[in-house]
């Protein structure tokens, strides 16, 4: 059986899909969108989510769940994870051009 995968971004997730995919309620997502923790607040009727926001929502959910963290604290941790990823990318670029003496 061959299944063609759908790229999330070509097709963005709606609120119900994102919530289901993360195993959370739609209210959980809406609260975090309104608080600006998941993405830029938008009109709830037009909410669509990208691949990057799916990753962010799952990370937020894990931090909140694993550590009983409040949403703002979880968002701060996830911000830092994203910053670490960005900096690791920069380090790779520098190391590509670096020779040890």
């Amino acid at each position: 059986m061959t299944i063609t995968a759908i790229v999330i971004d070509d097709l963005q997730l709606d609120l119900a899909d994102l919530a289901h995919s993360c195993g959370v309620s739609q209210e959980w997502v809406v609260e975090r969108v309104h608080a600006g923790l998941l993405c830029t607040p938008m009109n709830p009727g037009q909410v669509r989510f990208t691949s990057a926001e799916l990753t962010r929502a799952r990370r937020l959910r894990n931090i909140e769940r694993n550590f009983d963290a409040n949403p703002e604290l979880a968002a701060l941790v996830v911000d830092m994870m994203e910053e670490i990823e960005r900096l690791k990318g920069q380090i790779n670029r520098i190391e590509d051009n670096c020779v040890d003496l």
């Binding site: 059986m1 061959t2 299944i3 063609t4 995968a5 759908i6 790229v7 999330i8 971004d9 070509d10 097709l11 289901h20 995919s21 195993g23 959370v24 691949s51 990057a52 799916l54 990753t55 799952r58 990370r59 959910r61 769940r65 694993n66 550590f67 009983d68 994870m81 990318g89 790779n92 670029r93 590509d96 051009n97």
Partner: protein
């Protein structure tokens, strides 16, 4: 099926209080957090820890587990007695720490069965859970698209309501233009639905297999290209192997090491397509023959070139 000692996984005594279990879980959740941990197998360990916590932090599940697990040692062959869960009700709901796709056979046997039965009895209809996993592909696959076979293990329910783990192989057609970190979705390949509800979906997060030749940023691809000193100095037309095949590239005269040449729209395809950047690296022929040494000596004599003039020396 092997017995799993959830107390041992969390490193707590069988008499541990709910608070002790929570503390032990948090400590391990931090240690094995897949985004941070340097431990090998962090992701696998985190799944075990989540599963152990899912059972031991829920008084109903813990009581059922304690009862059925009496006298078993970790790794010992285990079969739950028939109707072992009679009298227990696993309500579930809310946050579940275990995606059923991640659950061990042991967990699925014990709690998948009871969960499915409970949900059916109340005429509850719902969509199956979505599963999440990662898939590693070559950078070239993002250029051309690819088909990959993947083996899925998913809990299923037989006619008698017993849960078993079923393995099936599916071919996944990965569209061209995918980026690292992006998710692709296979509709209907998650957990089966309850009460006639639709199956969940399978989400795969794309990762590229590391390839020392290429560095990828979003859809832009960077490739280091060694060139000879005369190609760099005089200019040349050279053949370069790129992820989308060999291309003829014109090297401008007087290029230095580190010069970046952009081949527009030769990065990962998409809207817009990424660019391919060629980073020139001048490779010196070794001075290991008399003829080579003489050529270098001639250059030293004739060119009067000081690359450190900006250092004032």
């Amino acid at each position: 099926m092997q017995f799993r000692d959830y107390y041992q996984i969390l490193g707590v005594a069988k008499t541990a209080t709910a608070d002790e279990i929570k503390k032990a879980y948090r400590k391990l959740a931090r240690k094995y957090h897949p985004d941070v941990s340097k431990e090998p197998d962090a992701e696998k360990k985190m799944k075990e820890v989540n599963e152990a916590n899912e059972v031991l932090s829920d008084p109903e599940k813990r009581a059922a587990y304690d009862q059925v697990g009496q006298g078993y040692r970790p790794g010992q062959d285990f079969q739950p007695p028939p109707n072992w869960d009679a009298g227990f009700e696993f309500s579930g709901g809310g946050f579940s720490g275990v995606d059923m796709g991640d659950a061990s056979d042991f967990f699925s046997q014990l709690f998948g069965q009871a969960g499915a039965r409970g949900k059916r009895s109340s005429h509850y209809q719902s969509r199956g859970e979505d599963h999440h996993a990662k898939i590693v592909i070559e950078l070239q696959d993002a250029y051309a698209g690819a088909t990959r076979s993947i083996t899925l293990q998913a809990p299923d329910v037989d006619a008698q309501g017993r849960v078993f783990t079923k393995e099936h192989v599916i071919n996944v057609r990965i569209p061209k233009g995918v980026k690292a970190g992006q998710h692709i979705r296979l509709n209907g390949q998650g957990s089966p639905g309850f009460g006639g509800g639709p199956a969940g979906d399978l989400y795969l997060e794309i990762q590229f297999r590391p390839d020392a030749r290429y560095r990828v940023e979003e859809r832009d691809v960077y490739e280091t290209v060694p060139v000879t000193p005369w190609e760099a100095a005089l200019g040349a037309s050279i053949e370069v192997a790129t992820p989308s095949g060999n291309v003829q590239v014109k090297i401008p005269a007087n290029s230095q090491s580190g010069r970046k040449l952009r081949l527009k729209a030769r990065g990962i395809p998409g809207e817009p397509a990424g660019d391919l950047y060629l980073l020139l690296e001048i490779a010196l022929p070794p001075a290991d023959t008399e003829a080579a040494r003489q050529l270098y000596e001639t250059m030293a004599r004739e060119l009067a070139f000081n690359p450190r003039s900006k250092m004032g020396v």
